[in-house]
């Protein structure tokens, strides 16, 4: 630059220099802005919380399902009743069948396409399943209900929608109202600005923004929300730069996903996809014109036009959008008329499946936390398939709430409870209820109420004894009479029976079936406390187990969930299958990331486990569980055990069928006497819970090492049918006594006479 002396303040040289400096600064500034715009836009990752879904409802011939279930499902999933069920998310009744148009979803097995299926229900079961357009269907799944999203740390929530998924009417209405020149301008619309200025001058204040969608996006994306001049100065060049680098569809799609549309407590509702779910309970694709108009209208002030808090104002705004859209030719006069006639149709915040099952989500959260960092869970949009069975969950909530309301109306005595239900074959946790008010997000008793389990410990004692088949079998007598065990510091442990009576020598089976404390405690002491503790460990108890004799009668404290873990091997005949609340994790695009597969670990001697299970069946037939007779179908064999803690503080029932296991606890949070027993408080709830889900019977066919044997009442000699008080027991071969009463011709079902003699030789 030539140097030329000058004294004039206004010399041309200085002006040029100043201009140049200004231009350089401007260029640098623009370059900086450009880099800012590009880096942020290119690397932009939506903050997408992980979404948790319930187990999809499977439809197949023979599945237990009645019209009440269907009504519940279509309400929860917000299916519309629509003739012919032509669009996803709709259903219709046609004669004796139903049409369901499912929505489709992604899963590790590829998931399901949206499809129209014809369903016939008869006698409380699915009696026919076919494609609506013909062709048989073997299995179909309804899309899983979203039951929660995991967003610790930050509060933005959204469901990403692609432009091609977005209803064209939404886009057209949006442009008609917010930015008519969107496809013509290059980020800034001077016509729009001029129009807004005129309108504002007329109104005497700022009423219209005049901003293009691009400017609005810049504002939301990079700039603070306050309307300052400096912000306005940056907004213009950034909008132009954005348009320079990116195509209109990209900008539009980002806009649709970025916009703020409301608040749900700490959760900010962003994007049209989530707003559709939040306000209408349905995916964006399924919304009608009047729904879409409301969403477009709300952009100007989600609080101001909140359809739940200010329905009249919201409706006026919606109608304004509809009319403007008609004026712009987006919708016809007929469409306008139809849409104006519709109410807002906003769903209440409660009533859907989302956030309805806090106790279960709590479990999912804890299981996820073991494998995923909080940042991953809150931002990557993971799809989490959980094991929750919505119908089972609702039934369990209902059973607990009704029973406790009957026993303790209005909670005046502080009686509360918890339920856990699982499918032992897969270890799936189907239902978790942590409070009689199931929607309460407070103390999760199913996971965190750690209470003495009472007689629920007794099957562990029986199992431990039976694993020594040469010494013990179910017919062997145990002493139900007072005894004392000296403890440290001169104390004495002297167990008592609930009825304060003692029955003397009784078969081990009866001691369990009738929950005789003295009989079971004396057996436990004879077998060895240390061995019982080992069994409890093998059953999956992870807490420290104090080596006190009182653990034999359940001074051990566990949560209902831990009891479900402990009873799992008893339900499966000796296999530990870890309980899982999650089956699959997929990424945002539906690619499988992780599976939590079913496993089965043999942890108990299977012959002994069969006998323990069988003795728990007898609990239901003739013992403390017989009060349930008639509640479940007669052809469904179930097994279980009652539990009651000291002072009637805790009532338990834990039991299982061939395909479900449930644990019920009833008590008070303050651990005060509640006047409850396993039989009178927990068992009826258990019965209701189990009766509400399709049951498979427990098989009573013994494993190869077990035989049916008639035993004399003395428990020491074999006998035969019809001889005195002889009873039939399943026995491990090593247990079968060689002594016989020599009554009758047959020693055992398959062992009497000459054939039996040969058989014994062979065995």
């Amino acid at each position: 630059m030539p140097k030329k002396a000058s004294s004039s303040f206004f010399s041309r040289g200085l002006l040029i220099k100043a201009t140049l400096v200004f231009l350089v600064l401007l260029l640098v500034g623009l370059a900086w802005l450009d880099a800012l715009v590009r880096s942020r836009f290119d690397s932009h990752q939506w903050q997408l919380p992980a979404r948790v879904y319930a187990r999809p409802v499977e439809l197949y011939n023979g599945r237990v399902l009645d019209m009440a279930h269907i009504d519940r499902l279509v309400a929860l999933m917000r299916y519309r009743e629509e003739a012919g069920a032509r669009t996803p998310g709709s259903w219709a009744r046609e004669g004796d069948s139903l049409l369901l148009h499912t929505r489709g979803f992604r899963d590790s097995d590829g998931g399901e396409q949206a499809r129209r299926i014809r369903l016939r229900i008869s006698g409380g079961r699915v009696a026919g399943l076919a494609n609506a357009d013909g062709g048989a269907v073997s299995v179909a799944r309804l899309e899983p209900m979203q039951i929660g999203s995991i967003h610790p740390g930050h509060s933005q929530d959204r469901i990403l929608v692609r432009l091609e998924q977005t209803p064209p009417t939404l886009v057209d209405m949006l442009l008609a109202v917010e930015d008519r020149q969107f496809y013509e301008h290059r980020g800034v619309s001077f016509r729009g600005l001029a129009r807004a200025t005129v309108a504002n001058l007329r109104a005497g204040g700022v009423r219209q923004g005049g901003s293009t969608l691009t400017q609005q996006l810049v504002k939301n994306f990079w700039l603070s929300r306050d309307r300052t001049l400096s912000r306005k100065l940056l907004e213009l060049p950034m909008a132009v730069l954005l348009e320079l680098h990116y195509e209109k569809p990209q900008i539009l799609e980002t806009y649709l996903n970025e916009v703020y549309l409301g608040q749900d407590g700490a959760r900010a509702i962003h994007g049209m996809g989530l707003a559709a779910q939040f306000y209408f309970g349905r995916p964006l694709e399924e919304l009608d014109t009047h729904h879409l108009a409301l969403l477009v209208g709300m952009l100007r002030g989600p609080g101001l036009y909140d359809p739940r808090r200010r329905p009249e104002r919201a409706q006026a705004r919606r109608d304004l959008v509809l009319r403007a859209s008609h004026a712009e030719g987006v919708i016809s006069a007929a469409q306008l008329e139809r849409a104006l006639a519709r109410p807002l149709e906003v769903v209440p915040r409660e009533g859907g499946a989302l956030y309805a099952f806090p106790a279960f989500i709590d479990l999912v959260r804890r299981q996820l936390a073991r494998d995923y960092a909080p940042a991953v869970l809150s931002s990557e949009g993971l799809i989490i398939h959980s094991t929750l069975d919505v119908l089972a969950q609702l039934a369990a909530e209902d059973a607990l709430a009704k029973a406790l309301e009957a026993r303790d109306p209005g909670s005046s005595n502080g009686l509360t409870g918890a339920v856990v239900m699982t499918a032992p074959d897969q270890g799936d946790v189907l239902a978790v209820v942590g409070d009689r008010r199931a929607r309460s997000t407070g103390f999760n008793r199913a996971l965190d109420a750690v209470r003495p389990i009472g007689s629920l410990a007794k099957p562990a004692v029986v199992q431990t004894a039976l694993e020594q088949p040469r010494r013990y079998h179910l017919a062997r007598h145990v002493m139900d009479e007072p005894f004392e065990v000296p403890l440290a510091h001169g104390q004495v442990w002297a167990p008592k029976n609930f009825d304060n009576e003692s029955r003397g020598p009784i078969p081990m089976l009866d001691a369990l079936a009738h929950s005789r404390n003295q009989g079971m405690a004396s057996l436990g002491m004879e077998v060895g406390l240390d061995k019982v503790i080992v069994t409890l460990r093998r059953l999956g108890v992870q807490r420290r187990i104090p080596a006190y004799p009182s653990i034999l009668l359940g001074s051990l404290e566990l949560s209902p969930f831990e009891v479900a873990v402990m009873y799992q091997p008893l339900a499966t005949g000796g296999f530990r299958t870890p309980l899982r609340s999650i089956t699959d994790v997929l990424d945002l695009s539906g690619t499988p990331l992780a599976r939590y597969p079913v496993s089965a670990d043999p942890v108990l001697d299977q012959d002994a486990a069969f006998l323990t299970q069988w003795s728990m069946i007898q609990v239901m037939r003739e013992g403390t569980g017989r009060g349930l007779l008639g509640v479940l179908p007669a052809d469904i064999t179930v097994a279980g055990k009652t539990g009651t803690s000291d002072g009637f503080r805790d009532a338990w029932f834990a039991g299982f069928s061939g395909n479900h296991l449930a644990v019920v606890w009833v008590g008070r949070d303050d651990n005060q006497p509640a006047g409850v027993t396993g039989s009178n408080a927990a068992l009826p709830i258990w019965g209701q819970v189990m009766a509400s889900v399709p049951q498979r019977t427990l098989r009573e066919s013994p494993p190869p090492g077990v035989e049916w044997v008639w035993m004399d009442a003395d428990g020491e000699r074999t006998s035969a049918e019809g001889c005195g008080d002889a009873r039939r027991y399943p026995m491990m071969k090593a247990s079968i006594p060689s002594d016989s009463t020599n009554c009758g011709a047959r020693r055992s079902d398959n062992g009497g006479g000459i054939r039996g003699w040969f058989r014994r030789l062979r065995d």
Partner: protein, 160 residues
């Protein structure tokens, strides 16, 4: 393991007894006493028209194209709707899958579970014991493998 060993023992004992019996009766009387099946036992499979059958088929197809996680998901779904002897078939299929996924320990447990759910069908049970043997061998448990093989042998010996 313990159980397998004790079964092995009982096999030996019954062999001894059977020998004594043969000497005693000097003939084939013992074999006549034995409940000899007249025809090979029915194959253990899932009823073709059951919903579990179509999922099993889908699982096999997924496995053959190398999509093991899809196969696992199909099988577990089938398990939740299975009836009767479906479960033994599905646990066996899961065990096979775990072997392919190089999870022999899990495979062994699932094969044992299939055995527990199995009907009294020696051919089927022998195949399951063979599966257990493979799973044990892959874990380096040679004694366990041999015990499982012996069980399979014994069961096959019961076949006509």
């Amino acid at each position: 393991m313990v159980q397998a060993a004790s079964r092995l023992n009982s096999v030996r004992v019954s062999a001894l007894r059977c020998g004594a019996l043969l000497v005693l009766l000097m003939g084939l009387a013992a074999c006549a006493v034995r409940p000899v099946p007249t025809a090979p036992p029915e194959p253990v499979e899932i009823a073709a028209d059951s919903p579990a059958a179509s999922l099993l088929q889908a699982a096999r197809a997924a496995r053959s194209r190398g999509d093991l996680s899809a196969a696992g998901r199909y099988l577990e779904r089938a398990l939740s709707m299975g009836r009767g002897q479906d479960t033994t078939v599905l646990y066996r299929e899961l065990a096979d899958l775990r072997l392919e996924e190089d999870q022999p320990r899990a495979a062994e447990g699932l094969a044992m579970r299939a055995l527990r759910e199995s009907p009294a069908n020696p051919a089927w049970q022998a195949e399951l014991w063979e599966l257990v043997a493979v799973a044990r061998a892959r874990q380096g448990d040679e004694a366990g493998r041999d015990a499982a093989r012996d069980n399979a042998e014994r069961l096959r010996a019961e076949l006509p």
